[in-house]
């Protein structure tokens, strides 16, 4: 395969697992660059709905006391490349909400938690099926003291979908008092889907708290039984559970029109409201 190597895992691991990077030919793809520079103390939200092939490159600066929220919905019928870079000042907050509804996406976000008490939260949702592919590389670099990161990913894989989620919390030396947590929750609905979960914690500072957790597989047996006792058949339970996963990310979007648009896209409009 030719192309550029993207989404490089900060600490490479066993080659045969195929998670150290993602090859992507970016030459033919149109690039869209976007800069979001907040003013100190400013609060702002940006919303991007990406539905055509290309590269989306968002560069964000969040200075002292500012809070930036970026919502990106990827619904691309073909290849997409996404890159988000954010640099955070003292007490700055950056919230990233990303939703992947299909396509073949290579997406990276690198967050610099430089300022003291800066914080980063990521809520990532995906609902993939058919031949969809997604390679995600999320890196939270903690350099500032008392910085905080929280990464939360939830998704559903059906059909022949292939997804790799690489989430790295990197506590650099000097980031004392920093905390980072990471959680991925994957619902598998097909025996031919492939899920790769790669949650890294890198640590060069003792005064930190880091954790990650992952849960991958079918719906909890007790959950299935509970819903069955209320008369709901198994297929319907799967559908509800899948939607439930995504719903938890949708609730973070905070924009009703976008949520309605997503529900419509998923064939879940409230038909009689």
């Amino acid at each position: 395969m030719s192309g550029t190597k993207l989404n490089i895992l900060p600490v490479p691991t066993f080659r045969w697992l195929g998670v150290n990077g993602a090859e992507r030919d970016t030459d033919g793809l149109a690039a869209k660059e976007l800069a979001i520079a907040a003013k100190p103390g400013e609060k702002r939200t940006s919303l991007l709905w990406i539905d055509s092939e290309g590269i989306t490159d968002v560069k964000i600066t969040v200075p002292e006391g500012a809070a930036v929220k970026l919502v990106e919905v990827f619904d691309v019928p073909g290849q997409a490349v996404s890159k988000v870079t954010a640099e955070l000042g003292d007490s700055a907050a950056f919230e990233l909400v990303q939703l992947y509804l299909g396509g073949d996406t290579v997406s990276e976000a690198v967050i610099g938690l430089n300022g003291r008490r800066s914080s980063f939260t990521a809520d990532i949702g995906y609902m993939l099926g058919g031949q969809d592919k997604l390679d995600l590389n999320l890196i939270a670099n903690h350099t500032g003291r008392k910085t905080l990161s929280q990464i939360n990913a939830k998704g559903v894989l059906d059909g022949d979908a292939v997804k790799t989620f690489k989430g790295t919390i990197d506590f650099k030396n000097g980031a004392s008092g920093a905390k980072g947590s990471e959680k991925e929750d994957v619902l598998l609905m097909s025996g031919s889907a492939v899920n790769k979960t790669v949650p890294l914690i890198l640590c060069a500072e003792d005064d930190v708290e880091g954790s990650h957790g992952a849960s991958i597989g079918r719906i909890d047996e007790r959950e299935v039984f509970y819903m069955q006792t209320r008369g709901i058949p198994e297929e319907k339970i799967c559908e509800l559970a899948a939607l439930g996963k995504l719903r938890q990310i949708l609730s973070k979007i905070g924009d009703e029109d976008t949520v309605i648009r997503i529900n419509k896209r998923l064939g879940r409009g409230e038909e009689d409201e």
Binding site: D220, Q228, T229, R230, G231, A241, K245
Partner: protein
């Protein structure tokens, strides 16, 4: 009176251990029965097996409901025949709201999709009866609910789904006095509409306001004694001891 639930010589095991040994019991339509016994006697196992929990394996005997052999039916089919189980500790289901969950369940059980407006009205009325804050309708099912709120949410489902027979597994445990009253009010409402009950309990707080037709004492996975409502009082007075360790 027709026999709504008929259990014949039922044995069941979890993993390799048999927990029920040949239990027989019938509940006629419209009656309220109580199953009492020690902790670990097999009461909750009985309720779970009647509902078809995958945690247990039926090793002998049969369960009939409304004349149909349901012994090997999956739980959702049992529910659609009109069987309901109120769980002792209901699990949390993130991402699915109380309202959405119940509307889907109701659609499955009745075979009809209720208009959203009508459903919301019905839900609101039931919640009011149970002193539940309206916001709970849009909260994820049982997620972050207190013990008492979870029990109320179970009774809320009972009122919306209106089964022919409801099994209440320790619905009164862990509730304060006011919550017991509220839950009792919900149960009375259910009975008013012609429901039948199988109440599994080891104390009697819930039974004070309910007319009991028959009592079954279970001990070591077997029915140790049966009688009318007066058996409850006898058990309260003398304890379960005389029913245990019988060969």
């Amino acid at each position: 009176m027709s026999q709504l639930l008929r259990i014949e010589n039922l044995s069941a095991a979890a993993e390799d251990k048999e927990l029920l040994h040949g239990v027989s019991l019938t509940v006629p339509e419209g009656e309220t029965h109580v199953v009492m016994g020690h902790n670990g006697a097999g009461k909750s196992t009985l309720g779970a097996v009647i509902m078809g929990s995958p945690e247990y394996r039926v090793t002998g005997g049969s369960i009939f409901f409304a004349g149909e052999d349901i012994t090997s039916l999956p739980a959702d089919k049992r529910a659609r025949l009109g069987l309901f189980l109120s769980f002792q500790s209901p699990i949390e289901i993130p991402g699915i709201t109380v309202s959405e969950f119940l509307r889907n369940a109701l659609e499955q059980i009745t075979g009809k999709r209720m208009k959203l407006w009508d459903f919301k009205k019905k839900l609101a009325a039931a919640m009011e009866l149970l002193d539940m804050d309206k916001s709970y309708a849009e909260r994820d099912l049982n997620v972050g609910f207190s013990g008492g709120e979870k029990k109320k949410a179970e009774i809320l489902q009972l009122l919306i789904l209106r089964p022919r027979l409801a099994i209440l597994d320790e619905t009164d445990s862990g509730l304060d006095v006011d919550a017991v009253k509220t839950v009792s009010k919900g149960i009375a409402e259910y009975l008013k509409n012609g429901g039948s009950l199988l109440i599994i309990t080891h104390n009697t707080r819930l039974l004070e306001s309910i007319k009991v037709d028959r009592t079954h004492i279970i001990s070591d996975g077997r029915i140790a004694a049966e009688g009318d409502a007066s058996l409850i009082d006898e058990v309260i007075e003398n304890g379960f001891e005389k029913y245990t360790d019988r060969e």
